[in-house]
């Protein structure tokens, strides 16, 4: 079972409560870079343009639900949040994420995890909240065991040359041009790219570049 299958299964079984999207992850340290933040995502079934706006805008550290999860408030409705900065919730509503419930969980290695259910109209009765809370626990346990089993991209181990090569290729340079810029042979550039691809767990060049962008190696 993959994370997206878990998400799909949860959406099927919770659709009657008005759940349209969900999001789950462990809590990155405050001030973490977007690349670090993305490694904490366990399950994500959200409108893609919303995800981009959220991470690009650096909203995580200003997100009132994140603050509540960090304090281990058991579960709470977004409508109950008292936040100084409610722009984020306004933006979420524009993407159809009007109502939400977030559950906080404590993992075995003592880190906090959060699980949000959201939709335009959600049933937020006490009984539904309890059902969703239980769903979140078992789903997070499954997602965590998947993550621990999967090798993570070895971003930290890219060499300087490999990173430089990716940066120039992302600027539209050919292998030959890059080899001239870096003062090495074209063969070496091919080698750098294939090493970077392997270390990032990418299936091709485009994939390697997209992982490199997402994890902040190149900007």
């Amino acid at each position: 079972m993959s994370p997206s299958e878990i998400s799909a299964e949860i959406r099927r079984s919770t659709a009657d409560f008005g759940v349209e999207h969900l999001f789950a992850g462990t809590m990155p340290r405050p001030g973490a870079l977007p690349s670090e933040q993305s490694k904490h995502v366990l399950l994500a079934d959200l409108p893609p343009d919303w995800v981009e706006e959220y991470f690009r805008g650096g909203w995580l550290d200003r997100d009132p639900t994140i603050q509540r999860v960090r304090s281990l408030a058991p579960s709470f409705l977004w409508s109950e949040l008292e936040s100084g900065d409610d722009r984020l919730m306004g933006m979420a509503a524009e993407h159809g994420l009007k109502a939400g419930l977030t559950c906080s969980l404590l993992t075995l290695d003592n880190s906090c995890a959060g699980f949000s259910f959201t939709g335009a109209y959600m049933d937020t009765s006490p009984e539904t909240r309890r059902i969703l809370h239980l769903v979140s626990i078992f789903a997070i346990a499954r997602a965590l065991s998947l993550r621990n089993a999967a090798p993570s991209p070895d971003v930290g181990r890219l060499s300087l040359r490999e990173m430089e090569t990716l940066r120039w290729i992302a600027e539209g340079k050919t292998d030959w041009e890059t080899s001239m810029i870096l003062g090495v042979s074209e063969k070496s550039i091919e080698k750098f790219v294939s090493n970077a691809r392997r270390k990032l767990g990418a299936i091709n060049r485009a994939h390697a570049l997209s992982i490199a962008f997402r994890s902040g190696i190149i900007q």
């Binding site: 281990l72 058991p74 404590l106 075995l108 290695d109 003592n110 880190s111 009984e127 309890r130 239980l134």
Partner: protein
């Protein structure tokens, strides 16, 4: 090593001395710290109606001091879920010689989680349940607990089944579950602890006779 105290040895003076320490630890943790005022006693010993001949007390000692404790109660006799918290079980109550109830789990403050890992003492106590269970024909335990701990149990490879929805009890979100375990659970606990040693003596050499009969 975990020390077992049950009907077969609780009358011994050495057991009595250890049980007094255990009852004091329970009082410190459940009354003084958690504020279960109904259990407060002037002598500082937390003892309830289930501390009778049927209970199995598991004690973790360090230099002669009880630093961890838990109590197992048979579900074939009155226990917390049947007598005190029946509202947490919405369906049929699990009952039988293979199901015991895990109660009064507590660890001395100085021996609790530091940093990110499950503390050694907590791990040894959990391992003791699994080792004891696997050798005594016990395959699952009933637990009433703060919902917050549920995820950790699942991560430790207990197969957890809720007996009802969480309810608020004395300000805490409380749920009753059964947690089944097997060799995988024990392996996981030992991996986390970083050693393969037993934490309980073999059942045959233990004072806990009569358990299988």
């Amino acid at each position: 090593m975990i020390t077992f105290i049950d009907a077969s040895n609780i009358h011994l003076p050495s057991s009595q001395a250890l049980m007094e320490q255990a009852y004091r630890l329970r009082h410190r943790v459940f009354v003084d710290e958690s504020g279960w005022e109904d259990l407060r006693r002037d002598d500082g010993l937390e003892i309830d109606q289930f501390d009778d001949g049927r209970a199995i007390h598991m004690l973790f000692l360090e230099e002669g001091q009880v630093v961890g404790y838990q109590r197992m109660l048979p579900t074939t006799a009155p226990h917390l879920l049947s007598e005190v918290l029946p509202e947490l079980c919405e369906g049929e109550r699990p009952c039988g010689p293979h199901v015991w109830e895990w109660t009064r789990y507590c660890v001395e403050k100085s021996h609790r989680e530091r940093g990110r890992k499950l503390s050694y003492t907590a791990n040894v106590l959990l391992s003791a349940i699994v080792e004891w269970g696997l050798e005594s024909g016990v395959s699952e335990i009933v637990i009433e607990m703060d919902t917050l701990w549920l995820l950790r149990l699942v991560q430790l490879h207990f197969r957890v089944t809720p007996l009802g929805f969480p309810k608020e009890i004395e300000g805490r979100d409380t749920i009753a579950v059964t947690a089944a375990f097997d060799g995988r659970t024990l392996k996981r606990l030992r991996e986390m602890r970083g050693d393969n040693a037993r934490v309980t003596a073999k059942q045959s050499s233990q004072a806990a006779g009569g358990l299988l009969s």
